[in-house]
Amino acid sequence: MQLAINIAVLAAIYALIACGYVLIYRVSRVLNLAHGELMMLSAYLLLTTASLFSKNPLIAIAAAIFLSLCVGVLVYLFLMRRMTGEMVLAAVLTTVALGVLLRGLVVLVWSAQQQNPAQALGWVNYSIPVFGGRISAAGAALIITTALVYAGLFLFLRFSRYGIRMRAAGQNPLLAAQRGISLHAIYALAWGLSTLTGALAGILISLDSGLDSTMVLIGLKAFPAALVGGLDSLVGALIGSLIIAAAEVLMIYYVDALLSDVVPFLVLILMLVVRPWGLFGTREELDRV
């Protein structure tokens, strides 16, 4: 039973991160390889807001999340906007460079030591017994948050006008512009939402298990989850996360703990060989001559 709970928590983590990859990819076909770093940045921002609003942990969290959203929008406006119209690969490499920059900045500002935001907020991470296993409070919060985020995103993309426009812009940017949709606004919105969900993930993970630069690796491991499910499908991201999390937890349990960092990538390669566009993704068009 404990195994199932571990899988569920890990899957929730991966899913919460993966939807950030999916949002940006779906709208602008850019793979944001700085997602892990942005997520880590949000967790560090929480550290700062926690010291600012030490009386009021919830306000601290809300402030950190809001700041992260701003960071995402600013990243688009000042950096990625310049890369629209360039080759996709150049844009992806720009995100890689951004990631490297953020990694450096985080250490410069907050030092490389392991931090504990939960302590800064004065919270204790209780462990709750459920169904014959135990789950940490932050872990439970992760599962609930992921469920809420996915439900929210689903409703947003399905029924709200901006969500529909986001899907439209992702499908045919030219036509979207002809229909009066401002692509820059839509892309900025996508970046904002993506860093927002990333911030939720980063903050909850750091509340659960502390904070240092290894968080980047978690972000990177969530990427296979997004790709296995199909880079442009939210449902896919959810299922991909479950698959990756299950594979990882089971491998650690039955085979070797050292494998934990490779399993997602092994699954990724398997998927790329069999079905590169993922379980639920749309197949990329063949190029015309």
Partner: protein, 360 residues
């Protein structure tokens, strides 16, 4: 690579063979000789620290030339270059540790292992392109590094594998000066191999694949074979660089081959300038020297002492900024700047090149 266009000095080609020559004019001969002479005298005037920098540049140059062949010429993106360097380094380390193999065995062995891994790295390229290919090489990087780490822990070398200085015949390669010439020779050979590949049928096939795969196939180019060839050659060269790196350091450990190293190699070819071997070399120089320049610059900051522990972070930040600046403002890289300067002087007092002769 020699210019594929007529010189501004009034040298004109009168046959197609001339277009294939690496060195066309006497001026180029003279320049090359002077350059070689400078390279030859450098170790006798340089300090030990400068020699170390030069050696690092040569090592990086082999790797970046290899990556340039793959990405800049054949158009196959790889984010797993560090994995290949690790593969080469571990081949040398394992052969030395387990079998006491000599330098002249481990280096070719690294080349062979590199070629095999290149084949594996290349297989996804038959189905994937662009982003997806980059991702698959990224995944392979993690797997290679994992295997290396597994070997280290299982054999009890958890801190890394120590390697003795190599020996060729009676010559022990330990002195920095000797290393300088050995690495220079390896770098020169990789450069020559690349130049020759690029001016031959293979190079043209790669160029065709890079511009459009389907059209290349329609022109009768064996696309899968040439893609795999690009991976095999590039990986093999990279693995040799990795093995040399292991010997030069006298030490192999997985920590050295993080994702950041892959990013650094990608940065070398971007900063240098895509599609140019000169760019690969310039990029290797720039990226290798950058940390030292930053260390020097940080020394000027007030309270320099207090930042000493944070040099790595400064490195990361500066590296990210430089990479972004090049991607956004100078996508042609250092070579682009170099060409503009060159053109400025060649064309002076005019500003524009005639339409037909403009470089892309």
């Amino acid at each position: 690579m020699s210019s594929r266009e007529p010189r501004a000095s009034g040298y004109f080609r009168s046959s197609y063979d001339q277009g294939l020559r690496l060195i066309e004019t006497r001026m180029q001969w003279t320049a090359l000789m002077l350059f070689l002479a400078a390279l030859g005298t450098f170790p006798f005037i340089a300090t030990s620290f400068q020699l170390d920098l030069a050696c690092q540049v040569f090592l990086a140059a082999i790797g970046s030339i290899a990556l340039m062949l793959l990405t800049g010429y054949a158009g196959q993106v790889s984010l797993g270059h560090a994995g290949l360097i690790a593969a080469g380094a571990f081949t040398a380390g394992i052969l030395f540790k387990e079998f006491g193999a000599a330098f002249w065995i481990t280096i070719p062995a690294a080349a062979v292992v590199g070629a095999l891994i290149g084949l594996i790295f290349g297989l996804p390229s038959l189905r994937l392109r662009g982003l997806y290919l980059a991702v698959s090489t990224l995944a392979l990087h993690f797997i290679v590094v994992y295997l290396g780490g597994e070997y280290e822990t299982k054999r009890g070398f958890s801190t890394g594998i120590m390697i003795d200085a190599p020996r060729i015949g009676d010559l022990l390669i330990r002195d920095r000066k000797i290393w300088y010439f050995v690495l220079l020779a390896f770098a020169a050979v990789s450069l020559l191999i690349s130049l020759n590949l690029l001016r031959s049928r293979t190079g043209r096939a790669w160029a065709a694949i890079r511009s459009h795969e389907t059209i290349a196939e329609a022109l009768g180019i064996g696309v899968p074979a040439h893609k795999l060839l690009a991976f095999v050659i590039s990986s093999s060269m990279t693995a040799v660089a990795g093995a040399l790196f292991a010997y030069y350091r006298g030490f192999v450990s997985v920590e050295a081959f993080s994702l950041f190293l892959s990013i650094q190699y990608v940065a070398m070819i971007i900063i240098g300038g895509m599609g140019s071997l000169l760019g690969a070399i310039l990029g290797a120089i720039f990226v290798t020297l950058l940390p030292y320049m930053i260390e020097y610059a940080v020394g000027f900051l007030p309270n320099a002492r207090s930042y000493a522990g944070m040099l790595a972070a400064f490195n990361y930040a500066a590296f990210g900024i430089v990479m972004i600046l090049f991607l956004v403002f100078e996508p042609q890289g250092l070579v682009g700047i170099w060409r503009r300067v060159q053109n400025y002087f060649l064309l002076w007092p005019f500003k524009q090149k005639p339409l037909g002769g403009s470089r892309k």
